[in-house]
C-alpha cells in the first residue's frame, strides 16, 4: 500500500507540472486548478481529547499541502484527476479515464487517521467498598481496575485503494462488462479490555496493535435487452488480521475440576480453559465472503416498472487450530 501511495503522489506531482506548459501549448487540458500552501500546527496532546478526525493535526510544525484538479481530453480520450495532499496521513487521489467510451476506468486512493478514545477506567472508583480500594493489592475491593498503558495514544490509520473498469464494445453495445478491486488497510493501536476473577473482578485496559487488510474483487455484467435490463455481480472478499493475539494472565478455574462444591466455584474462580497462565483475548477472526447478486428490471407502458433481485452470500470464518474445552460438571 505504501508503494501505491508513493506512485500516486509522483503521478500527481508530474501532472501538476504539466498545465502551464505542455498541456496549455497543445490545447489538451480543458480545465485545471492548483492550490499549494503550508499550514502551521501546534498539537498539545491529551488522551481524553475529542475530535476523532481533525485534519492536519498529527504532524506538529509547518506542513506543506497541495491540491490539484486537472481534466481534459482529445480524440475520444478523456481524463480527470483530483489530488489532495494535506499531510502524510491525510491524502486523497482520484483518476478517471475514458477511452472512446469503449474502456472506462477509475482509480481512488485515500488515507486518513482516526483517533480512538482512551478509557482510563477512573469510573471504577464508583464501585469501591472503601476509599482507594480499586487497585491490585487493595484489601477488599469490588473491582480491581488498571490502565496498563496510561500514556498511550490509540488510533487507526485507514488506507484504501480502489479501482474499477468497464468495457462496452461497439459490436455488442447493450452488454457492459466490469471488474473492480478494493484493498483497505487499517493499522494502528487500540485499547482492549480484559477481565479475570480471583477474589474480585480484575479489569485491565491494555494496548493492542491493529493490522487488518480487506481485499475485495468484483466482476459483473449488465445487459440491456429492449425493455429488459439484467445486472449480475460477483464479489469475493478476504479479510486478514496480521497483528496477532493479545494475552493476559488468567487463573485456573476451580470448576469444572471435580470434587469442589459449586459455591466455591461461584465465589472464587471463573471459567478459563482449565489452565493457569497467559491466554489470548480480544481475538479478531479472519473471514471470507462470496456473494452473487442478480437483478432484473422490465419497463412497461404507463410508467410501470417491475424489478426483482436475487442475492446469495456465503460468509465463512477462517479461524482454525483452536483447541476446544470439554466441560464436565457434576
Amino acid at each position: 500500500m505504501k508503494q501505491i501511495q508513493t506512485w500516486l503522489l509522483l503521478a500527481a506531482l508530474a501532472l501538476l507540472l504539466l498545465p502551464t506548459s505542455l498541456l496549455a501549448a497543445e490545447h489538451k487540458a480543458e480545465s485545471s486548478s492548483i492550490e499549494v500552501g503550508a499550514a502551521g500546527m501546534a498539537v498539545d496532546d491529551e488522551v481524553n481529547r475529542v475530535n476523532e478526525y481533525t485534519v492536519v493535526r498529527d504532524d506538529d510544525g509547518v506542513n506543506p499541502y497541495a491540491k490539484a484538479r486537472i481534466e481534459g481530453g482529445e480524440n475520444g480520450v478523456y481524463f480527470d484527476l483530483d489530488a489532495r495532499r494535506m499531510s502524510q496521513r491525510d491524502q486523497e487521489y482520484n483518476l478517471e479515464a475514458d477511452f472512446n467510451r469503449i474502456f472506462r476506468f477509475d482509480l481512488d486512493y485515500d488515507t486518513f487517521k482516526h483517533w480512538l478514545p482512551h478509557d482510563q477506567l477512573d469510573y471504577m472508583r464508583a464501585t469501591m467498598k472503601t476509599e482507594g480500594q480499586t487497585k491490585p493489592g487493595s484489601a477488599n475491593p469490588a473491582i480491581y481496575s488498571e490502565d496498563l498503558v496510561p500514556d498511550e495514544d490509540f488510533f487507526i490509520i485507514h488506507r484504501q485503494f480502489e479501482t474499477g473498469g468497464e468495457v462496452q464494445l461497439p459490436s455488442m453495445p447493450n452488454v457492459t462488462l466490469r471488474a473492480g478491486f478494493r484493498q483497505e488497510e487499517r493499522e494502528g493501536v487500540e485499547q482492549v479490555f480484559g477481565i479475570s476473577h480471583c477474589s474480585a473482578c480484575h479489569v485491565t485496559g491494555d494496548a493492542k496493535n491493529i493490522d487488518e487488510l480487506t481485499t475485495d474483487l468484483t466482476v459483473g455484467a449488465t445487459g440491456k435487452f429492449g425493455l429488459l435490463t439484467v445486472d449480475y455481480e460477483y464479489l469475493t472478499r478476504d479479510f486478514e488480521e496480521n497483528a496477532g493475539d493479545v494475552n493476559r494472565e488468567y487463573l485456573l478455574a476451580a470448576k469444572p475440576v471435580d470434587g469442589l462444591p459449586t459455591a466455591d466455584f461461584a465465589t472464587g474462580r471463573l471459567l478459563f480453559e482449565q489452565q493457569n497462565g497467559q491466554l489470548p483475548y480480544e481475538n479478531t477472526p479472519e473471514s471470507e465472503k462470496d456473494s452473487h447478486s442478480l437483478k432484473a428490471r422490465v419497463d412497461l407502458s404507463n410508467n410501470t416498472v417491475i424489478s426483482g433481485g436475487y442475492i446469495n452470500t456465503d460468509i465463512e470464518s477462517s479461524k482454525k487450530d483452536t483447541q476446544g474445552l470439554l466441560l464436565s460438571m457434576n
Binding site: N174, V175, F193, I195, A221, P285, N303, I315
Partner: protein, 342 residues
C-alpha cells in the same frame, strides 16, 4: 463455522447469464425508446444538435465536456442522441410562433422527467429508481443533477451539501461529537447511500453488509454471537452521528438495558451473587411476587452496572470465538459462555 445468508441457491442462473447476454445483443435502444411512456411533442421532427447550438451556444462548452456530451453513438443503440434525445424533437421549437414546443424539464411532471432519463439509466445503481423514496416523494433527477455539466457526477452541488439542503436532521447529527468523518471531507453521504435505490443504501444486502464493508472485523461469523450485531448494526449505532461515544444511540448502561432489562431490576435490589431477588417490594413497578431476578454482580451490583460501562467487562459485545467468564447459576452452566468478556 459457516453461515448462509441467502434463502435459496440457483447456480443455473449464473451459468445461463452469459448466454442470455449474448443472445440479447441484438436488442436496441430504439425499441426501448419507442415502448416507454415518454413525454412527446406531437408533430415535431428532429433538427439536429447543430441547429440547437445556433441559439443555445452558452451550453455548448459545458455540455461537450460533460458525460452526456461524450456519449458515443454505439451506446445509444440506434436511439436518438444530442439535445433532442432529452428535449424532444425541435422542429416546432425553432419556428417563432411555437417556441414553447420543446420539453423543458422544470415544466414536466417528476415521473415524466425521470422517464426521459430512464431511457438510458435503467441499470446498476439506478435499477430501483421508481421504487426509491425519492421517486415516491416526487423528487426527480433534475432536482439534484445538472444534465448539461456539473462535473463528474453532474450534481448541482457537492455531496454532502446537496443532500443537506433537504436532510437537515442528518446535517445536524453529523456535527455531533461522535460522527463519521463527513465534515472532515473523508466521507460523503454517497459512500453509504444510493439515493436511487429502493432501500437507499449502497448495497443490495442487509444494512450490516454495508457497515461491514469497512468495519470488516465484525463480519464474523462468531462462535458466540450477539443477536443485535448479527441482525442490524443500527439497533445500537446511529451512523449519522450521536452525542454518546462510538456512535451509540444512548450512553451505557442505558443502551444495554434496553434489551437486558432483567439486570435493571436485579441490580437495583443489590443482593448477593446467586440470590433470587423477589421483584416486590424491591421494585414496586412489578407486582407479581412470583417474578424473581438473579443478581450476577453482587453487593456492589448497582454501582458496577450504573456507574461504570458495561463494555469495560463485556468488551466483546460484537461477538467472540472465546468463551466468556461465567459462574454457574443454580448449579447449572450459564448459556453457552456467551457473556462477551473475552
Amino acid at each position: 463455522m459457516f453461515r448462509k445468508v441467502s434463502l435459496t441457491r440457483a447456480p443455473w442462473l449464473v451459468k445461463l447469464l452469459p448466454l442470455a447476454l449474448i443472445l440479447g445483443a441484438c436488442a436496441t435502444g430504439a425499441i426501448r425508446e419507442k415502448q416507454l411512456t415518454l413525454p412527446t411533442i406531437e408533430g415535431a421532427e428532429p433538427v439536429g444538435q447543430e441547429t440547437c447550438l445556433e441559439c443555445h451556444d452558452d451550453y455548448a462548452a459545458s455540455f461537450a465536456a460533460s458525460i452526456h456530451g461524450r456519449i458515443a453513438d454505439f451506446e445509444l443503440m440506434g436511439a436518438a442522441g444530442g439535445c433532442e434525445a432529452c428535449h424532444g424533437n425541435g422542429s416546432l421549437h425553432i419556428s417563432d410562433d411555437q417556441a414553447g414546443k420543446i420539453l423543458k424539464f422544470d415544466q414536466l411532471l417528476p415521473e415524466e422527467s425521470a422517464a426521459v432519463c430512464a431511457k438510458c439509466h435503467s441499470d446498476g445503481s439506478l435499477m430501483d429508481w421508481t421504487h426509491s423514496e425519492h421517486a415516491l416523494t416526487d423528487v426527480t433527477c433534475t432536482d439534484c443533477h445538472s444534465v448539461h455539466g456539473g462535473g463528474k457526477t453532474a450534481l448541482k452541488q457537492q455531496d454532502p451539501d446537496l443532500c443537506y439542503s433537504c436532510h437537515q436532521e442528518q446535517m445536524a447529527k453529523s456535527n455531533f461529537p461522535s460522527h463519521h468523518p463527513i465534515k472532515e471531507g473523508k466521507m460523503t453521504c454517497g459512500d453509504c447511500h444510493n439515493p436511487h435505490a429502493a432501500e437507499g443504501l449502497v448495497t443490495e444486502q442487509r444494512v450490516n453488509d454495508l457497515c461491514i464493508e469497512c468495519h470488516t472485523r465484525y463480519q464474523g461469523p462468531f462462535v458466540f454471537e450477539h443477536a443485535p450485531v448479527a441482525e442490524d448494526c443500527t439497533i445500537c449505532h446511529d451512523p449519522h452521528g450521536t452525542v454518546a461515544d462510538n456512535l451509540l444511540v444512548q450512553n451505557e448502561p442505558f443502551i444495554c438495558l434496553q434489551c437486558h432489562e432483567g439486570h435493571f431490576h436485579a441490580l437495583r435490589a443489590g443482593q448477593p451473587v446467586g440470590t433470587n431477588v423477589p421483584a416486590t417490594p424491591a421494585d414496586p413497578a412489578i407486582t407479581d411476587p412470583n417474578i424473581t431476578f438473579t443478581n450476577p454482580h453482587g453487593d456492589e451490583g448497582w454501582q458496577k452496572a450504573f456507574l461504570t460501562r458495561c463494555t469495560a467487562c463485556h468488551a466483546q459485545q460484537h461477538g467472540s470465538d472465546l468463551p466468556g467468564q461465567a459462574a454457574p447459576v443454580d448449579g447449572k452452566w450459564p448459556t453457552a459462555g456467551g457473556t462477551f468478556t473475552r
